[in-house]
């Protein structure tokens, strides 16, 4: 027989080892916060706190009673971890981004920091975890009894509880980490995880290959019902248990603690996604063989829950039994320690501290006091939780199968699931909905599963259980509303989780979320869009200004923000970033209000000033979104300005078209007028010639000559019109040759010599040497010069008419200026004389159709030159012909 003293000595040594590991790691992580301790393997091993003594001892018992069913407890977590990308990753991201300290903290902050929700969740957690802790006490006590024989159960359980409370208090509350991380404890439970895995495998190997003759021998003569269990194995209970275990790996406070809160790096989750299922696989692979061999070799009255320990003992393998005891001890202690830390964090943060702060309100509590208060409240909470566990163990008498107790806790924490999933995937979920759902679920769980679990006459009398309270059979706790014939567990899950989810859904749809709630909902549901990694943990003045600077950059733009901060720093007489002062906050708030409105600016700045509770990265994201909106609206306004401009251009074009249309009408009316005058003359004289027989021969000749003249005038007019239309449409091709302008001028003057007025006019020709040439069409330049010179002669009303023609070269051009002393044209006339059918003020009736100048200008332009009226400083004017020099 294994001696009790040896057992206690080994246990003490093991506990001291755990202390040493936790202490060493805590010290080490204070000095160097990274290293192998932050590896994904340690993270995975810490998650294996899921495998409690319920796994270590209870799984074998479950396999002995219900066959393969025990596997469901490990299949659920396997599925959750294999599908980590869809749920766990989001939880971890939210946990890191919002510095969540517990599952109560996560759910309550999602629903607008509701304190009533936090209190309710904490209460449910305490009540649900209590039986689970009792289960650990029970298993340690029983395993001790197996070895020590006659030890008193209650005394043993009491000392086990006290010892665990001491360990948890020493390491769980040694210091207060801002993120609620406990590196020392995590390292210790990782070590325990290895011990329990090796112990179970060692026992498994011994049983399979030491007692039986290999795997085939173990399963050889097994009755199929031993594997199928008493009921249909792949039935409702199978589904329910898998669902429950999948829920538990997320919702159990201790699992949330190690998976989310203690997570150091998000990428560790990727490794844990297969390593943790592999660990579970390793833990369960020998469960079936141990159970089956135990059923064969152990006496029929032996408790299958203790096969792991009793089989080696029965075969006198004391060192193996001791190892197995340590494995079970490890499973129990790691669970109790982490669960106590997780639940005590919730109790102290959500129940004790708010109450204490309310009581202390008005007194001058300084930071140190609050810190001490927090530590004390944690320690007391841990004590209370273990005390409750002990009391449950005491009350329930320690008679139930281990598995049943664990499942009660599972269903209890499963009540968190609807609010949790709804909170992180559905923005419409409201706080009232979560409260109602949790309340209904909790009440139904207590009524259908928790209270009946005490059994006997502790809470419900036997009569109440079998016939319903006051004999109302519809209210029977295990056949509510007549839903009989199902397994009590399945029944409880259907009622509590179903009722919870439906109530949550319906009430959420019927109620309104507060503003803070809506904001938090957006932050949680869109966590991957919103935050990148965890916010920095350093909280100093310069850090604040850095945040302010980032915020200002996002909203004001990079350069204006830099200017503003330089200015602020200068005011403070510092370089770099200014220190965070009220003046800085006020100034920035004013600046930001210009971009995003006063309310948002106030909310954001006061958040950085430490007066609000929303994550910094989230605010910056709001700023980003605002910036995007501003950008979009700017683009829209650009687009609309562009449209405005196009419309303006269209209006202008339309206006020009109208003017052109009017000009065309005028042109037509003028042209018909011009054509009509000679036509009328021709018509009337020809009529006279036809109708009158006795016309004097002199008159007859005169009439015919008038008709002839007028016909020629008509022809000339039509020629001119044809010319101008061809010139203006650009269809007239002019052959340009090298021409001497002086010669062209003289030619034109010669052609004019027949005009009667020319004799009186003095013509003066100035010009450079004869070597100046222009590119022009000889006939056309003659036509233009003739037109200009004859105008100068015709409209000159001076007593001694003079014409001065000067030619000079100007760069690439040659200018021919024609000046006369007849007063020239006024500036007003200059604007219109090139219009068709316009005549100068001096032209009398019948002096021409008024097409000479427009045609001349068109000709000049067709020869790449121009015809303009130039004014001198004294107001006198001249016609200037401009041509390209040859």
């Amino acid at each position: 027989m294994l001696s009790v003293n040896l057992l206690l000595g080994v246990c003490l040594g093991y506990v001291i080892l755990l202390f040493a590991v936790a202490f060493f790691v805590d010290r080490r992580s204070e000095r160097r916060p990274a290293g192998w301790l932050h590896s994904p393997v340690v993270y995975t091993l810490s998650i294996s706190v899921y495998c409690t003594s319920w796994t270590f001892y209870g799984a074998v018992g479950s396999a002995a009673r219900n066959g393969l069913e025990f596997v469901t407890i490990y299949l659920g977590p396997t599925l959750v971890f294999v599908g980590w990308w869809w749920l766990l990753r989001k939880l971890v991201r939210i946990g890191r981004a919002h510095r969540v300290t517990s599952i109560a903290d996560l759910i309550s902050s999602r629903y607008g920091k509701s304190s009533s929700l936090a209190v309710l969740i904490t209460l449910i957690a305490v009540i649900a975890v209590t039986p689970y802790i009792a289960l650990q006490l029970q298993s340690v006590t029983r395993s001790y009894q197996v070895i020590a024989g006659d030890a008193d159960a209650m005394t043993t359980a009491f000392w086990v509880a006290a010892g665990m409370a001491l360990f948890t208090i020493l390491f769980g509350t040694r210091n207060l980490d801002a993120n609620e991380r406990h590196h020392g404890v995590v390292a210790a439970i990782a070590l325990e995880a290895i011990v329990k895995l090796l112990a179970l495998i060692a026992v498994g190997v011994f049983v399979t290959y030491g007692i039986a003759d290999g795997v085939a021998d173990v399963f050889e003569n097994v009755h199929p019902d031993t594997i199928r269990g008493t009921t249909d194995i792949f039935g409702p209970r199978w589904i329910t248990l898998t669902f429950l275990s999948a829920t538990a790996i997320i919702c159990l406070p201790r699992q949330f603690q190690v998976t989310v809160v203690e997570n150091v790096e998000e990428r560790h989750l990727a490794t844990a996604s297969w390593l943790f299922p592999l660990y579970l696989f390793g833990m369960t692979i020998f469960i079936m063989p141990i159970a089956l061999v135990g059923l064969q070799v152990m006496p029929t009255d032996a408790n299958p829950d203790l096969f792991v320990l009793s089989i080696p003992l029965a075969h006198e393998r004391h060192e193996l039994a001791l190892f197995a005891f340590l494995g079970g001890f490890s499973s129990a202690t790691s669970m109790v320690i982490v669960a106590a830390i997780a639940v005590s964090t919730m109790v102290s943060n959500h129940i004790v501290m708010p109450m204490a702060l309310r009581l202390l309100h008005g007194t001058h509590a300084v930071i140190g006091d609050v810190r001490n208060l927090l530590l004390i409240s944690r320690r007391i909470s841990i004590g209370i939780i273990l005390c409750l566990g002990f009391l449950y163990f005491h009350a329930s008498g320690g008679s139930d199968a281990l598995a049943a107790i664990g499942l009660i806790a599972f269903v209890g924490v499963a009540q968190f699931l609807p609010s949790l999933l709804g909170g992180i995937f559905w923005r419409g979920a409201t706080c009232t909905g979560a409260l109602a759902g949790l309340g209904v679920g909790f009440a139904l769980w207590a009524y259908t599963l928790f209270l009946p679990s005490f059994g006997g006459d502790v809470v419900f009398s036997t009569a109440t259980l079998t016939q319903g309270p006051w004999g109302i059979s519809l209210l029977r706790p295990q056949a509510l509303l007549g839903l009989a014939g199902t397994d009590p567990l399945v029944h409880a899950v259907i009622w509590s989780v179903g009722g919870n989810a439906l109530t949550f859904l319906i009430v959420s749809c019927l109620t309104q979320a507060s503003n803070l709630e809506r904001f938090q909902a957006a932050m949680f549901v869109n966590v991957f869009r919103a935050s990148g990694g965890a916010p920095s943990t350093i909280a100093t003045g310069s850090h604040d200004t850095e945040d302010l600077f980032i915020l200002a950059q996002r909203i004001l733009g990079s350069e204006p923000a830099r200017k503003l901060f330089d200015e602020l720093a200068e005011e403070q007489g510092t370089t770099g970033l200014p220190l965070a002062s009220d003046a800085v906050f006020a100034r920035l708030e004013r600046e930001l209000a210009g971009s995003i409105g006063a309310a948002s600016a106030h909310a954001m700045v006061s958040r950085i000033a430490g007066r609000e509770t929303v994550g910094m990265t989230d605010l910056i994201d709001i700023a980003d979104e605002t910036q995007q909106l501003i950008e979009t609206s700017r683009q829209l306004s650009d687009k609309s300005a562009e449209l405005e401009q196009t419309a303006q251009q269209l209006r202008e074009v339309n206006e020009r078209l109208r003017t052109l249309d009017a000009q065309k009408d005028e042109f037509l009316s003028q042209i018909s007028h011009e054509l009509r005058t000679p036509m009328t003359a021709i018509q009337s004289f020809s009529e006279t010639l036809i109708t009158t027989d006795d016309i004097a021969p002199g008159d007859r000749e005169r009439f015919v000559s008038i008709i002839h003249d007028e016909s020629r005038r008509l022809t000339r007019l039509l020629d001119e019109l044809l010319d101008i239309s061809r010139l203006e449409s650009g269809t007239m091709e002019l052959q340009l040759t090298k021409i001497e302008p002086q010669a062209a001028i003289r030619q034109a003057l010669d052609a004019m010599s027949t005009m009667p007025q020319v004799a009186k006019v003095a013509v003066r020709i100035d010009g450079p040497a004869d070597d100046v040439f222009v590119r022009a069409n000889g006939d056309r330049i003659h036509q233009v010069l003739l037109n200009i010179l004859s105008n100068a002669v015709k409209y000159n009303d001076s007593e001694t008419p003079e014409i001065a023609i000067s030619t000079k070269r100007h760069g690439r051009h040659v200018m021919i200026d024609v000046r006369d002393n007849g007063g020239g044209v006024s500036r007003d006339e200059a604007a219109v004389i090139f219009e068709k059918f316009s005549r100068g003020s001096k032209s009398g009736r019948g002096a021409g159709a008024g097409l000479g100048l427009p045609i001349s200008r068109s000709i000049m332009r067709a020869m790449d030159g121009d015809l303009t009226v130039e004014f001198d400083a004294d107001g006198s004017s001249c016609f200037r012909l401009k041509l390209l020099a040859a």
């Binding site: 795997v215 085939a216 399963f219 199978w238 299922p277 869009r529 990148g532 990694g533 950059q553």
Partner: protein, 98 residues
């Protein structure tokens, strides 16, 4: 996030696989598929239901192991889910004297 579609083709595949492995796992481990293997016979000395559950379990672990690498990569690269941190300013945007 206009660049999402350009960078996530490998990531999207990894994510599709993550969803597929989860759904296949649930389908294989739950009735009615699991009931098909509820046969009173032995293979390699093991009862078929036990063998079936553990083989599926092992396959899930292997599958998860194979996709965890690509998923981790896609997360490090993914624009929305990047670990780069939207909250931190770019180095060149840091204020002077920082």
């Amino acid at each position: 996030m206009p660049d999402q579609d350009m960078t996530q083709t490998p990531g999207r595949r990894a994510r599709d696989r993550a969803m597929a492995i989860l759904l296949v796992g649930i389908a294989l481990l739950m009735p009615p598929v699991a009931q098909v293997f509820l046969v009173d016979d032995h293979i390699l000395g093991l009862p078929i239901p036990v063998l079936y559950i553990f083989v599926v379990w092992g396959a899930l672990i292997l599958g998860a192991m194979m996709i965890s690498g690509p998923l981790k990569k896609s997360e490090a690269r993914g624009p929305g889910a990047g670990a780069g941190g939207n909250g931190a300013p770019d180095p060149q945007e840091r204020p002077p004297g920082d």
